[in-house]
């Protein structure tokens, strides 16, 4: 008995020693380990980005009331969207909102970055304070704006009335044009620090020698900005613009809290309209189709900017 078991025990002992050693060696191989490390993010992206995206596309092709099984309808939801006058209003609103707000953020952010790049007292403190609009939760800051835009409490109205405007002053959220202008200003206020701080980081990488050389060559302040700063900042401006357009185009919280798309859909954007149809009316397929119509415009823009950057 003992004669027969000894060698067996020896064999079984030997195996576990070899296996971990080979497993460790296998894990240590760079291609294996890198793939292992990549697996988690890939699964994460597939689960939380890929799956919802594909599911959204499938939903948009179905007549899918909430709590019901969907039926495939092809592109009918998109046809319904295109026949819906509010949809076109929403499309125009979204492009105006994104275009104007991004432009304002770009120009304002660049000015902010240039100003912040100067030497002055308490520079670091001011830079930190400038980030506040970006840090404060959107819902919270929007509620503060809601009070500021209410004619009864508005500091703007108080100021305008003091200057002679008849009471109660402008109705910021009741007038369609002013309402759109208001949400653009608030979005700009919130997004400016992102532009400013990112461009400031870019500015600080510009070698001072270039400015010195330009100055020696007789360049003015504007010329130094135009021919030295701007070309060197261009790649960063493009990347920040790309992010900003994506965030602004799909903006939801600000409008949802402040106007809920009113007055008369003057501030309704793709994201809020899709939410109202999907969640408010329970039409998940139709809501998904509205949300997905954002995709071609964003994809084209991203493609154009990426190609431009590559060419640069």
């Amino acid at each position: 008995m003992s004669i027969r078991t000894e060698p067996l025990i020896g064999v079984t002992r030997a195996q576990p020693r070899r296996r971990p050693a080979s497993l460790a060696a296998w894990l240590d191989r760079e291609p294996v380990f890198s793939w292992l490390m990549m697996t988690a993010p890939i699964l994460f992206l597939a689960a939380f980005v890929g799956y919802p995206f594909v599911y959204g596309i499938l939903l948009s092709l179905q007549d899918r009331p909430v709590a019901h099984v969907g039926t495939f309808v092809g592109l009918k939801n998109f046809v319904r969207d295109f026949n819906d006058p509010i949809f076109w209003r929403v499309a125009i609103n979204t492009f105006v909102y994104t275009g104007v707000a991004t432009l304002l953020k770009m120009v304002g952010g660049l000015a902010l970055a240039v100003a912040m790049n100067q030497n002055f007292r308490m520079k670091n403190l001011v830079r930190a304070v400038l980030l506040l609009p970006f840090i404060v939760p959107t819902v919270l800051s929007t509620v503060a704006w809601m009070w500021m835009l209410d004619p009864a409490f508005s500091i703007f109205n108080w100021f305008l009335i003091a200057l002679g405007m008849p009471k109660p002053g402008p109705s910021w959220l009741g007038n369609p044009t002013l309402a759109m202008a208001s949400i653009i200003v608030i979005n700009t206020w919130r997004g400016l620090p992102f532009y400013g701080i990112t461009l400031l980081a870019g500015l600080q990488t510009v070698p001072p020698e270039l400015y010195e050389a330009a100055t020696i060559d007789g360049a003015s302040g504007w010329q130094r900005f135009r021919y030295v700063t701007l070309p060197l900042l261009q790649p960063i401006i493009l990347i920040v613009t790309l992010f900003s357009v994506i965030f602004t185009f799909a903006d939801f919280q600000l409008v949802y809290v402040l106007t809920h798309g009113g007055p008369q859909n003057a501030t309704q954007l793709f994201a809020t309209y899709a939410f109202d149809i999907g969640m408010g009316a329970g039409q998940l397929g139709l809501g998904a189709s509205v949300a997905l119509t954002m995709l071609p415009a964003l994809a084209l823009l991203i493609l154009a900017l990426t190609l431009y950057m590559r060419r640069q």
Partner: protein, 426 residues
């Protein structure tokens, strides 16, 4: 060293993932509980009564724990959608407006509860049946109505010689003109809120004889002389009595304006008086409430019903059903209603003369209004098309655009085109 740490990392990751996946199911297996999902109440004592009195009492009586899960105001539809789509979550849910109809396929038939409770407690108001019965089955047991009525400043109305709230829209308009001239305008929401806009727009349309769609749920009839008269009235009512800002208001706006003493009349739930009594006693003294004015075709109110439904796919649906039955019994329900005074107006006739109505007699119009209350879109049946009409603010915006200056003909034509497009799928 580095190899070992990599393996350790992987082990920890796998163990963590397995633990996370297993933990909830192990926990659930040991529970005997029912989860009731509710929107956080404006009246804190209402939620507290469930948490501190009803839930412990039920656990003591049956051994089943009641988990009272609160969600923020406005987020309930999203939560219900998530539960029905994923098939997991609460067992019983608060439900309101058109949602029993939208989610009907995922809700248990609770006709036995509704019929038993109705029989024992004086019978249901017709409005309760309108709100809870889907294709002949009760899909929710109605709990109460959160009525939307007229809130008015007695002191300012008195300044223009009015001591009793006007009976008709035209009379209210005449008073409003005088009050606006004295810098006490009206404020009725015409923006994209959740309820204060529909709260007066639909009753106004109905009281002039207008309607969106016929009871067949297909025929669009918004383009009528009755609608035109209602729109014409709304335009002059807005122009001559109100603040311009109401066009952009959401549901919080009229409350802010009321407590800023900016407006003399609005349409809101009882919460205005309730909050005034708590935080602004001087304003509370001069606040009164009245039923909506009547138009040429009668007096109407918006049915803002809340009820409770049981999901038909949950593992504990029978326990949930039994709990709902228990909580709707008079012994429990009476106390629950009383905990919120009359903010939740009972749909059962047994409570018509309950002592809670004497706590604040100014709330009595909310009880009287339930006899003429209907769901948005009435007399069309509650359908997915109707839900889309409400979510797209078709009728609210028809009135709002007219108030902002568009012609009556144009706004009605636009609304009609939208309604026809939506009802094309009916």
């Amino acid at each position: 060293m580095s190899g070992r740490s990599r393996r350790d990392f992987l082990k920890i990751a796998v163990a963590g993932a397995a633990g996370t996946a297993l933990a909830p199911s192990l926990g659930r297996a040991a529970d005997k509980s029912v989860t009731l999902l509710h929107e956080s109440s404006f009246i804190k004592t209402f939620d507290e009564y469930m948490q501190k009195t009803l839930a412990p009492a039920y656990e003591k009586e049956t051994g089943v724990k009641v988990v009272y899960e609160l969600t923020s105001v406005g987020s309930l539809p999203t939560r219900i959608s998530t539960i029905t789509e994923t098939g997991s979550g609460a067992d019983v849910t608060m439900i309101f407006l058109l949602y029993p109809f939208l989610f009907a396929d995922k809700l248990m038939d609770v006709s036995d509860i509704a019929e038993d409770i109705g029989k024992k407690q004086g019978g249901w108001y017709d409005a309760a049946k309108e709100a809870g019965i889907v294709n002949g089955q009760w899909k929710s047991v109605p709990h109460s109505n959160i009525g939307q009525l007229m809130n008015w400043r007695t002191d300012w109305f008195k300044e223009v010689g009015v001591t009793k709230f006007p009976d008709t829209w035209e009379e209210l308009y005449e008073v409003g003109k005088k009050l606006k001239a004295k810098d006490h305008p009206f404020g009725f929401e015409l923006g994209h809120g959740f309820g204060d806009n529909h709260g007066w727009i639909y009753p106004l349309l109905w009281s002039y004889g207008g309607r969106e769609v016929e009871p067949d749920g297909k025929t669009v009839v918004i383009d009528s002389d009755e609608t035109a008269r209602a729109v014409d009235f709304a335009r002059k009512f807005f122009k001559d009595t109100m603040l311009d800002d109401v066009l952009g208001w959401t549901d919080v706006s009229n409350n802010k304006a009321w407590f800023a003493e900016q407006i003399s009349c609005t349409n809101n739930a009882e919460s205005i008086l309730w909050l005034a009594k708590r935080d602004f006693p001087d304003i509370a003294k001069v606040t009164d409430q009245a039923m909506n004015p009547q138009g040429p075709k009668g007096r109407f109110h918006l049915l803002n019903c809340i009820g409770h439904s049981v999901f038909n796919f949950g593992p504990q649906k029978q326990e949930a059903h039994d709990f709902l039955h228990w909580v709707m019994e008079e012994k429990q329900l009476g106390g629950w209603y009383a905990s919120a005074d009359t903010y939740y107006q009972p749909f059962l006739h047994a409570y018509d003369n309950a002592p809670m109505w004497d706590v604040e007699p100014r709330n009595k119009p909310y009880r009287d209004a339930m006899g003429s209350a209907h769901l948005p879109g009435w007399p069309a049946p509650p359908t997915r098309q109707l839900a889309e009409v409400v979510a797209k603010y078709v009728t609210v915006d028809m009135f709002a655009k007219a108030c902002a200056g568009a012609s009556t003909k144009e706004v009605i034509k636009n609304a009609e085109a939208q309604l026809k497009e939506i009802y094309r799928t009916a």
